[in-house]
């Protein structure tokens, strides 16, 4: 009897602490989003779901919602596709592997905001490094105004998003690869399996749990990622590169609609929660099967 309840009892303090840290802000957001709230966060009358209805009528919100989906899928997907081969290469033994690993990890060590600032300079239409390089190589004959419209700005932001997501993802995969015993490959090679077959039949299935973790964690990070888009375009021009976080920031701190901003926040929380639950459920069922 005693031993059955003891583990729960022991985890109770940290469970309590976690609950305070997680639920208190969410409760606060629920309060703000369901009230008429002043410019400086003082709650006034209860307003029910008014703030949420206001969102559905806001075309910028719906556009930002879809763009957030696109942004998350492209960045997470791109980072995943890039990280698997990178991790496999870094896992093989070659001369200078240490240095190669450091180079891949380096973007991780630089703050996201700083990375975005440097890219903003590099993408400047008249004095940016990228245009000078492309002109010098003869690939273009006049400057491209990268950040002037969403058609060029958003793809660049996605590319930068992928670039900064690769180090973390690669680290997860390197951990996964090192857990696969070499014997498997030796046995497969003896049986005459090609490298592609080895990847399909050994590496990929055994890496799957790690891919799942990478997808869940990256989706959460990327979905909420603010600096890249904010620093480079502030979601502009004309809100055409806005994702939910940048839209929320403008709503809250520029226009002063704290109620609607809290509602956006809760919508984001709900989306991520549902995504994570469904994904984890699916991934676990697959593993059991």
């Amino acid at each position: 009897m005693q031993t059955r309840f003891l583990p729960y009892l022991l985890t109770l303090p940290s469970l309590f602490l976690a609950a305070v840290v997680i639920f208190w802000p969410v409760w606060d957001l629920i309060q703000i989003s369901t009230h008429d709230v002043s410019r400086f966060g003082q709650l006034r009358d209860f307003s029910g779901l008014t703030n949420f209805w206001a969102l559905t009528a806001d075309a910028d919100f719906t556009a930002a919602l879809w763009r957030t989906g696109l942004w998350t899928v492209l960045v997470v997907g791109g980072a995943l596709l890039l990280s698997i081969p990178v991790a496999i290469i870094l896992n093989t033994d070659f001369y200078g592997r240490g240095i190669a690993r450091v180079i891949i990890m380096l973007p991780w060590a630089v703050s996201l905001t700083m990375t975005a600032v440097v890219w903003r300079w590099a993408l400047n239409g008249e004095s940016g490094m990228l245009n000078s390089a492309l002109l010098g190589l003869g690939l273009i004959d006049q400057n491209i105004q990268w950040l002037a419209s969403a058609e060029t700005a958003f793809p660049m932001q996605v590319l930068i998003g992928i670039l900064v997501t690769v180090p973390f993802t690669t680290t997860i995969f390197l951990g996964g690869l090192s857990s696969i015993p070499d014997d498997f490959y030796e046995a497969a090679a003896l049986e005459g399996a090609t490298p592609l077959q080895q990847f399909r039949e050994i590496t990929f299935p055994l890496l799957k749990p790690f891919i799942n973790i990478a997808i869940v964690l990256n989706t959460i990070y990327v979905f909420n990622s603010f600096p890249i888009i904010w620093v480079m375009t502030q979601g502009g021009p004309a809100n055409s590169t806005d994702i939910l976080v940048t839209h929320l920031y403008k709503l809250a701190f520029r226009i002063g609609k704290l109620g609607e901003a809290s509602a956006v926040s809760l919508v984001m929380f709900a989306i991520l929660l549902v995504f994570t639950m469904i994904y984890v459920r699916l991934a676990m069922r697959e593993q059991r099967a």
Partner: protein
């Protein structure tokens, strides 16, 4: 380390936290916007001089970049951890007054004190007959032009109206070699203001007389079409919507742009960064009827209602608005003098650049005193970006923006 030592350390740490959280008697906390690299050192010297002259009062300046100032104030006020004094954009003041967080200063202001100010700059901080803020910084806009490019293109004088400006821009464009006639800002803060320069010349105001948005008037449309036609003709720098004010100013400093409209601080920057650039400052061009407008801006320093050290805070304000302190701050940052005595100093009287700005003051428009102004500015900027990009027709974009702005105004 023994448990006992840990406990002592922890207790010491906690008591320090509590001390820090408690406002000390005689301490004045001030939130200050960082205008340039000179802001920090200036307030550092204020702290030293003021504390030496007023023993028993300590001053703490919290210097925040402009970009995040409103965010910091919003969160601080929500949590009631705001400072005693703060610099704010005067255009935000109405929100602070309506939410009852700003203290009226009239009980402190003596006639002598009030007489120090130039009325044009003090009046935006007065609401419903009460003075809620003091103009800590004042600025207006005028047109900078590159004399060397003008000479090369054979242009004698800066353009007096927009038609002349277009012709001059064509001549500068014809010089080739990566020079652009007119620098047009199309990104971030004040994208809307850059459009108002043209809009005011066509006789349209931000708000019509009946309090509705001016964006749906014919003048607003003419102005938008003017800028759009200049973009299409290649008279502006390429990629307008990727250039914020600093980007255009950088192009001007590099000698690539013939004309641009901006604030007096560009003169200071040119002095430091491009001392060989030959430039002049002229009035903003007029429209077909001779109308013109410049944007007047003040930032106010306000006292919070919940301040516990109001008398000490006032002493600091009194100190900040002495002629000597004003001159030091204004000249360092490149603002306009707000203080009558200060304006008489040689520095301002013999300064051709600044004279061009002060001459425009009778045409200055300040941001309208309405709640929700920031949202209307945002709506206008968004509409302009759509027009500049060509993703919406000027007429449709302005109509839509006017409807949105009227929705905000009705609230």
């Amino acid at each position: 380390m023994s448990l006992r030592k840990w406990t002592v350390g922890l207790m010491a740490g906690m008591s320090m936290l509590m001390l820090a959280a408690q406002a000390n008697a005689g301490e004045v906390r001030v939130t200050v916007a960082e205008y340039s690299a000179k802001t920090g050192p200036y307030f550092e010297s204020v702290k030293k001089d003021f504390e030496a002259a007023n023993p028993g009062i300590t001053v703490k300046f919290e210097i925040v970049p402009w970009e995040v100032l409103l965010q910091k104030l919003t969160t601080d006020i929500t949590a009631s951890t705001n400072a005693d004094l703060s610099i704010i954009g005067t255009r935000w003041l109405i929100d602070f007054v309506q939410q009852d967080v700003a203290e009226p200063l009239d009980s402190y202001i003596t006639p002598e004190f009030k007489d120090r100010f130039i009325d044009t700059f003090l009046s935006p901080s007065i609401m419903e007959g009460k003075t809620y803020g003091l103009p800590i910084a004042a600025s207006a806009r005028a047109m900078y032009y590159n004399k060397e490019l003008f000479e090369k293109a054979g242009i004698a004088n800066p353009p007096a109206n927009w038609t002349e400006l277009q012709e001059d821009a064509r001549k500068i464009k014809a010089l080739g070699s990566g020079t652009f006639g007119f620098g047009l800002q199309g990104k971030e803060i004040e994208t809307d203001v850059y459009y108002y320069y043209a809009m005011w010349s066509y006789g349209t105001e931000i708000l019509n007389k009946d309090g509705t948005s001016g964006l749906s008037t014919p003048g607003a449309l003419e102005a938008a079409k003017l800028y759009k036609s200049m973009i299409d003709e290649g008279l502006t720098e390429p990629g307008v919507t990727s250039n914020n004010r600093e980007d255009v100013q950088n192009l001007f400093k590099q000698g690539k742009v013939g004309m641009m409209i901006t604030a007096p601080f560009l003169s200071n920057q040119i002095k430091d960064e491009a001392p060989n650039l030959k430039y002049g400052v002229a009035a903003i061009p007029t429209g077909p009827t001779g109308a013109r407008g410049t944007y007047g801006v003040t930032d106010s320093i306000i006292m919070f209602k919940n301040s516990k050290n109001k008398d000490e805070a006032w002493k600091l304000l009194d100190f900040l608005f002495t002629t000597e302190q004003r001159a030091k701050f204004t000249q360092g940052e490149g603002f306009l003098p707000v203080n009558k005595e200060e304006a008489k100093m040689d520095y301002y009287v013999n300064n051709a650049d600044l004279a061009a700005f002060t001459a425009l003051l009778p045409d200055a428009r300040f941001a309208p005193v309405i709640p929700g102004w920031e949202e209307i500015a945002q709506i206008t900027s968004d509409a302009m970006q759509k027009i500049y990009l060509g993703s919406a027709e000027p007429e449709a974009a302005l109509k839509e923006a006017a409807a949105k702005a009227n929705g905000v105004l009705k609230k």
